[in-house]
Symmetry: C2
């Protein structure tokens, strides 16, 4: 009996998975271990591997096999796998190699120059490079949009959030815009009279690391299948069988690193708990960037910055960093829920963060759909920052539209994932709270298993077997509903 097209495809994707293992390892090592003089050789090795993997995905026989597999009698999970295989095929085949290469060169050039232009606040020199990236991204988006039958921006967003559309996002973000600026102003007024005790450093890095590891243990990170290391930009990498998370330490501030570790542990547990029997298939990967972020933010925002969790870990903080007045559960709670509008997205608190994202979404959508040009960005930025956060950014390009690496790198359509993640997380926890009325008491005594069980059953174990909407409806009974996020903010910050 001859092999089925489906069986044949699974073998090809298993091989791709193994090569991706090496790509992922090389990426982690590059960020966390590699000395500087290894850079050129590493870049060449990773590019060579990339070419090889791209060659496997653009093999002319592959599409015919996918078409044939679609006609075979398959189980639902296998059908879902073929659907995800097709997505991988599209991502590799819809764009001509020349365009991909031009894009890679343009974004490298833009990013490289940006590293000096940003500190110099030099928008004038930055703009033409960004224009070239935008031009090429629009070309890509046009090709993707034609194949997918969507708008240009939606075709790009689909790379990160399959099934999401700007129409849905506009409805969701439109709702948020009606109440968020007021909420931020009210919280600030309320917090003005709070007395918060600052933690006194320095905090030795070895001690911070030991504290981080102790907290990861509470969060059930599997140390037999993963590691914690250091990199300039924290991330979660590796492979599901061996997840590598990183953080960065500052001797004068333990708080950011600690909560960063909690955040990455959320990503890590998703990866560590993806279904192992499908680990080497496209259907076995995380559902989307937004769903991935919903895990890190479940850990960081829903759990990590909650009072009961901070009560749980306050003794660990004191044990590792020493006794100080700042280390009561109550004061830690205040430190971790301080609301203060600022310029920088990555430094933003939980309440202000969505405003940063909405602003970027609105600008990049209009940019990709051809309604505005690069030159229009600074004025729009200033206007929206004032409108959403009351912050004056005029002339401050480096802390304005030049602050993120996404646009110079050509990653248009990614930003919404951050806030979608925050909203999904709030929606999950609303469901979990209904199912477990004494959730806070359980958290406070370290009984986190019900949370992890819920996430494992409803999110982690599903991988990419369902669409995002199906996943969220099965888990919570409804599609994405931003009212849970609003209720969460109101309870935490105005309650």
């Amino acid at each position: 009996m001859s092999a089925t097209a489906y069986a044949d495809l699974t073998r090809t994707f298993t091989r791709l998975y193994r090569f991706r293992h090496l790509a992922s390892l090389a990426g982690w090592d590059h960020a966390a271990m590699m000395p500087p003089r290894g850079n050129d050789a590493r870049a060449a090795a990773m590019a060579e591997l990339g070419v090889h993997m791209h060659g496997m995905l653009t093999d002319t026989a592959l599409k015919a096999k996918i078409d044939a597999a679609e006609q075979e009698k398959l189980k639902p999970i296998e059908q879902a796998n073929v659907r995800e295989m097709k997505r991988s095929w599209e991502a590799a085949n819809l764009l001509p190699a020349k365009l991909v290469e031009d894009m890679s060169l343009a974004s490298s050039k833009c990013e490289h120059a940006w590293r000096e232009q940003r500190p110099a606040n030099d928008w004038k020199s930055f703009a033409p490079n960004l224009e070239e990236v935008v031009r090429l991204t629009r070309e890509q988006a046009t090709l993707l949009a034609e194949a997918k039958g969507t708008s240009r921006y939606d075709a790009l967003m689909d790379l990160y959030e399959p099934g999401m559309t700007s129409k849905k996002i506009e409805a969701i973000f439109g709702d948020v815009k009606t109440w968020l600026p007021d909420l931020i102003a009210t919280v600030q007024k309320k917090q003005a009279s709070d007395s918060v005790i600052a933690a006194k450093g320095p905090f030795a890095i070895e001690k911070q690391k030991a504290l981080g590891l102790a907290v990861m243990k509470h969060l059930d990170f599997d140390f037999e299948g993963g590691r914690l290391d250091v990199s300039t930009h924290p991330f979660c990498g590796g492979v599901p069988e061996d997840v590598r998370i990183t953080t960065r330490y500052r001797e004068d501030d333990f708080a950011q690193s600690l909560m960063g570790i909690v955040h990455e542990t959320g990503h890590a547990r998703y990866e560590q708990n993806l279904p192992r029997d499908l680990v080497d298939q496209p259907v076995g990967v995380a559902r989307s960037m937004g769903i991935h972020e919903s895990q890190s933010l479940s850990f960081e925002m829903q759990l990590g910055r909650s009072k009961p969790f901070l009560s749980l870990i306050a003794p660990l903080v004191r044990e590792h960093l020493g006794e100080q007045p700042a280390f009561t559960a109550e004061n830690l709670g205040k430190l971790y829920t301080r609301v203060k509008p600022g310029f920088i997205r990555v430094d933003a608190d939980e309440a202000c963060y969505p405003a940063h994202v909405i602003l970027r979404f609105e600008i990049e959508r209009a940019l990709m759909d051809g309604e505005i040009e690069v030159d229009d960005i600074p004025a729009l930025w200033d206007e929206k920052m004032m409108q959403y956060l009351g912050v004056d950014t005029r002339g401050n390009f480096n802390n304005g539209a030049m602050q993120d690496i996404h646009w110079p790198g050509g990653a248009f359509g990614y930003f919404p994932s951050y806030t979608l993640g925050a909203m999904y997380a709030a929606q999950y926890f609303a469901t979990i709270r209904k199912q477990i009325p004494d959730l806070d008491q359980r958290i406070e005594r370290g009984d986190l298993a019900p949370i992890f069980d819920w996430l494992k059953t409803n999110i982690w174990s599903k991988a990419s077997s369902l669409s995002t909407d199906e996943l969220v409806v099965q888990a919570t009974g409804e599609t994405l509903n931003p009212s849970h996020f609003r209720a969460h903010l109101e309870r935490r910050y105005l309650g």
Copy 2:
């Protein structure tokens, strides 16, 4: 104008080099970083990469290109490159895939069982597994020998020491056997009256690491292009642009780890100083295992354990590990040159080490050439250990023929490299001493540049452009001459 076969070949080997970069990284990570549950996925990824690289080397077009390149008008260095390309081609093509796979399975099985059989001293269960490895290695050796026109053992040794023959080794080792047992006995008698002060631990691992890094700095290790980490079995890995060395620490003994770091730094500097313009070509790699070992042993034995070097680093030892009577230069010298025959090769001192190697060479040569069988090994082992080192190993299989991983792993023909390395190192330093009469004074004041310059000019920069004999003759004026090794031992231990 069409591309030449040679230019075409260089591109293929550049691609292979880039894939080997990833293989090397994955191997280093496996030993130094990877948590245990990552093992299966890593093994699968490395095997997939191995299959791909093997596929590139067994591409039927490759041999035709090598044949064509041999007819092209090439520069000498290009001719040498083609010669080394052919060696790579032979290593991949002379053995049928089925035999390679059978060998891989048999050696994995033997090694895996050996990990439990060795501590259980269970030669009876070990022997049949080893017999299968020997049977398959002989099959491989027969095929290689037919192609190369050599004996079976020589065909295997050629994989590690191109150009070396058992006839040459027998002459060299035969000479050593006439004087080494007497020398060991004499040194032991001489050292019996020495008073040696033991160093008092524990030595914190962080402090040992800092000491190791300080010594590596003296040895000009390029930290911008390499790292020091920890693994169970110390090694030098990575790639020339990014060399990864490892050590292991014991809290009760700093000496072994420190000299291990010096040893691996020797390997590392060879790699770091291979000619960078040829780094991605077969002619750009280290000449042989013996020449590689000659670098680590130049660092460890010729330099590291010498009195002037120990005078140089004694203050560093005291600075990092604290003042103690054991840490005078004189006492460190005694600690590092103690001679005492024992069972274990890897624990052997400089004088006894060759005896372990000669014994293994004699047994494995006879085994491969079909003069003896696996069952004959224990008796031969006992006899030779008694003859060369005066040590009784009867019934002590785990500390006898079962102590090394080489034979279970199928690496017959490798052992001579260790002692060839020690001899080459002695021969280099005899030459260096002639050229620099005040060498010891220079070492003592930290002026190591003349040594490194000599090694760089004569060994590192040559990579595989010359045959081993040519390399050594150009560097020292003669082919390998064991009298320098004897003179070195006599000066150090009987002087």
